[in-house]
Amino acid sequence: DVKVTQSSRYLVKRTGEKVFLECVQDMDHENMFWYRQDPGLGLRLIYFSYDVKMKEKGDIPEGYSVSREKKERFSLILESASTNQTSMYLCASSFRSGQSYEQYFGPGTRLTVT
């Protein structure tokens, strides 16, 4: 079974703090993704990575950065957290090649910025 784990289920941070969200997958997937999920907006892609040290911006990258130093780990960084970044953050992974872009999701991190 593919397993995607996220470092925290719930996180409360103050405005201006630097926030790190960690994601680890154990299936040797090339692709990893960070989304945020907000009511009425569905999932919006923040960043994705198709290989170690490679990253591409998604639909809403502003205010975020990412790091992928190892294949199994993909970190999302909020350089200076703001209240509008309060959201559920979902990490996912998938294979890159062939027909299977099926994504496997982690449990999510609910971040509250006060």
Binding site: G40, G42, R44, Q99, Q103, F105
Partner: protein
């Protein structure tokens, strides 16, 4: 740019009713299409997917979806829902666009 739109924001049904959730995508090339489900408090998980071949795709838990290329649609169906189908359903297309989601509430 590719986008996915879901027609319904919130659907309320009685048990044994039939379910159809609409999904349209805008993408001119080859499409890979997915329906994901998120049960309350659980991870997103794959219901079914379409890459090519038979446009009628069967997934888990009695769900199916039909790819209609001429209508750019990939609607999800289930002939008879159960209370346990209460969840949020997301349509997605390759290049990682997700629809806004449809919340389905099934009343006993």
């Amino acid at each position: 740019a590719q986008s996915v739109s879901q027609h319904n924001h919130h659907v309320i049904l009685s048990e044994a009713a039939s379910l159809e959730l609409g999904c349209n995508y805008s993408y001119g090339g080859t499409v890979n299409l997915f329906w994901y489900v998120q049960y309350p408090g659980q991870h997103l998980q794959l219901l079914l997917k379409y890459f090519s071949g038979d446009p009628l795709v069967k997934g888990i838990k009695g769900f199916e979806a039909e790819f209609i290329k001429s209508k750019f649609s990939f609607n999800l169906r289930k002939p008879s829902v159960q209370w346990s189908d209460t969840a949020e359903y997301f349509c997605a297309a390759i290049k990682l666009s997700f629809g806004a989601g449809t919340t389905v509430t099934v009343r006993a």
